[in-house]
Amino acid sequence: MKNRLKEIRSTKGISQEELAEALEVSRQTISSLENGRYNPSILLAFKIARFFQMSIEDIFIYEEGDVDGR
């Protein structure tokens, strides 16, 4: 699953560390999400969307044939 997390985070001028702190996850989790190595749970996806005041679909892009990226 692709996502625009890095782009959105950079636009808002927030560091990985700050985002991790706000979402109560590790900085590596943010890094893995941005690199597409890890797909978030629905709960974390909602937290991220709420943090940026966007919808989940605005941040995460589901494509047909996506497999579990965890």
């Binding site: 893995s32 978030p40 749970s41």
Partner: protein
């Protein structure tokens, strides 16, 4: 903060080893020779060293404990832990099966009996956990 936690874990490991060695050396120097008691003495020293290290760390960096708790709930780390446990379990079972076969070939019935018992216990725990979790989730 996360880097500090990583360094803390390395220090924790070093303190564990030092604590054990210290306990064993002190036990030996006091002229005792019981190997079981020696190990227990080492473990007691490990507990003492780790408790002292914890106390020092959390007084020096009070936010570390908070961060540690936060990281325990990190979903990616939980997934990693679960997968590591699954792989470890599979490797353990494979090793035990190999040992069991070796014991049978070498005609060591007693060892084969204990190993097969261990395999059965492991499989039973795994199946019970699956059953419990499938009811819960």
């Amino acid at each position: 903060m996360e880097d500090k936690l990583k360094k803390q874990k390395i220090k924790y490991f070093i303190f564990t080893v030092i604590g054990y060695l210290l306990g064993v050396v002190i036990y030996d120097l006091s002229g005792n020779e019981n190997s079981s008691l020696r190990a227990i003495f080492g473990i007691i020293f490990v507990v003492i060293m780790r408790a002292l290290f914890d106390l020092y760390q959390y007084r020096k960096h009070p936010k570390l404990k908070e961060k540690e708790k936060q990281l325990e709930k990190d979903e990616r780390l939980i997934v990693i832990r679960d997968r590591a446990a699954y792989i470890t379990n599979n490797i353990m079972l494979t090793i035990l099966v190999i040992l069991w076969l070796t014991a049978i070939i070498k005609r060591n019935d007693e060892l084969a009996y204990y190993i097969s018992g261990s395999i059965l216990i492991l499989v039973a725990i795994m199946e019970l956990s699956k059953y419990y979790l499938s009811k819960k989730i």
